[in-house]
């Protein structure tokens, strides 16, 4: 890691509990701009919770977390810093979470107009450009329910990108998709990675992880068990838990 590069995410000894459940245990994680990090692990391992802490959708109880040089406080008491972070960090959800009452274009222009105070014209231009980039420029006037799952997820990606985020979080972006639509979403993400976007991706798509990740993190029961470049982690995993997990998922 280049010593002069300011990390965009810096997490130290982060702990999170859901009641009596200890979901994240002493997580240390640093992400530098331009890095593509893929988080893998069994369901319930805490990987989604981990990335949801980065934009404050989940609170944590102990530890320190800095995102884009702003400090997130434990117990969700971050106020302005949180607002800043959410403006600079985009997120794509498993269930797309598009706004069903707004057209595709309005889904994309809402936040740039209300948060970045872009004019309608400017926001529209950028929306058209983004829709072109994710390959659905002809769907701008439709409503989300009129689109396929793959198209909806690409709209969700365009919506997040419209804020020109410095970091993109992906929470199992292809898990709710029919198999034939996974490819188009992964293609759009691949393009984004190529363009140098900093990305943290929770996914079960191991082939994709191997291809785009700079680093793969394996989480087991709320702890980072192992991490490293994809070829190392996938081909020569050191920890036996990682080996067991990979042999289970790579069999399919």
């Amino acid at each position: 890691m280049n010593a002069t590069t300011q990390p965009i995410v810096s997490m130290q000894k982060l702990n999170k509990h859901f009641g009596s459940l200890h979901v994240l245990k002493d997580i240390d994680l640093t992400i530098i701009p331009g890095e593509v990090v893929v988080v893998i692990g069994a369901s319930g391992s805490g990987k989604s919770t981990l990335i949801r802490c980065i934009n404050g959708l989940e609170e944590f109880q102990q530890g320190t977390l800095e995102v884009d040089s702003k400090t997130l406080q434990p117990h969700g008491k971050s106020g302005r810093a949180l607002q800043h972070i959410r403006t600079e960090v985009g997120m794509v959800f498993q269930q797309f979470n598009l706004f069903p009452h707004l057209s595709v274009r309005d889904n994309i222009t809402l936040a740039p107009m209300k948060v970045r105070h872009l004019s309608r014209e400017k926001a529209k231009q950028s929306a058209n450009h983004l829709l072109e980039r994710v390959g659905i420029e002809d769907q701008a006037d439709k409503y989300p329910s009129q689109l396929s799952g793959g198209q909806q997820q690409r709209v969700a990606l365009a919506r997040a990108l419209a804020m020109e985020p410095r970091l993109m979080l992906f929470d199992e972006p292809t898990s709710a998709l029919d198999p034939e639509m996974i490819g188009e979403v992964l293609d759009a993400m691949r393009e984004l990675a190529k363009d140098g976007m900093t990305m943290v991706i929770v996914t079960h798509e191991m082939g994709f992880a191997r291809e785009v990740a700079d680093r793969v993190i394996y989480i087991h029961q709320g702890e980072i068990t192992e991490q490293g470049p994809p070829e190392t982690l996938f081909d020569t995993p050191q920890h036996e838990r990682t080996q067991a997990f990979l042999s289970r998922v790579l069999k399919h």
């Binding site: 934009n55 959708l57 600079e88 985009g90 069903p100 009452h101 936040a111 209300k114």
Partner: protein, 223 residues
């Protein structure tokens, strides 16, 4: 004993011009009351879902009191009871509108709460993740969707409130039932007149039902 009813259609039709003046009153009390009830309902409905207990508590109290007592008692209290407190009379129209307002307001509070809570968590998470503030998320994402889901139960409440205004004949507002009573006092054709009164209520509520189903269809087009 064999009783034969002779429904006198001529008497029924003759009563119509004497009943029609009641319709504007019925509509004024219903929709005037509902308009205030909607504002009250939004206010207490949102308080009801506040994370702060001291905001929630007054809303719960309001809803329980006005949902748990008869609207007839409420209007009698407002018309006969409140003047003692205020030291001056309240006219019957104001009392009727106020009764519909506070009564429908309690039910609409629950409709508002249900509508807002029915919106999936993912919607506000998506809005917040884009940098929108809590109030912006509510205003641009949650509320418009909640409002659409509230149309059917709001329509239901409007129909109930329209019918509730018939009780206000007891305080002498010149609404439909009152006009019927006045007319019957001179003609003694109770069956025919109340039949026509019922038909006129049906005409109002049925028109409203049709308008609402059109609105609902339009509202759902975007989903």
């Amino acid at each position: 004993m064999d009783v034969t009813f002779n429904f006198d259609w001529a008497a029924a039709i003759d009563s119509i011009p004497h009943l029609l003046p009641g319709i504007p009153w019925t509509l004024l009390i219903s929709f005037g009351g509902l308009a205030f009830g909607f504002v009250i309902g939004i206010f207490f409905g949102l308080l009801r879902i506040s994370p702060l207990r001291w905001l929630r508590w007054p809303a719960i109290a309001y809803i329980e009191i006005f949902r748990g007592t008869p609207i007839l008692v409420q209007v009698l209290f407002i018309f006969y009871g409140l003047p003692q407190l205020l030291g001056g009379p309240i006219d019957a129209l104001t009392a009727g509108i106020a009764a519909i307002a506070v009564n429908s307001g309690a039910y609409i509070s629950e409709i508002v709460r249900g509508g807002v809570q029915s919106i999936e968590r993912g919607q506000s998470e998506a809005a917040l993740s884009l940098g929108l503030s809590r109030s912006q998320s509510f205003r641009y994402v949650i509320w418009p969707q909640a409002l659409r889901r509230m149309i059917p139960p709001l329509g239901n409440q409007a129909i109930i409130s329209i019918k509730d205004t018939s009780l206000f004949s007891v305080i002498g507002v010149g609404e439909l039932v009152r006009q019927g009573q006045i007319y019957i006092a001179t003609t003694f054709t109770a069956m025919e007149v109340y039949f026509m009164v019922a038909l006129l209520y049906l005409a109002i509520t049925w028109t409203l039902s049709i308008l609402l189903s059109l609105l609902e269809r339009k509202g759902l087009a975007g989903e």
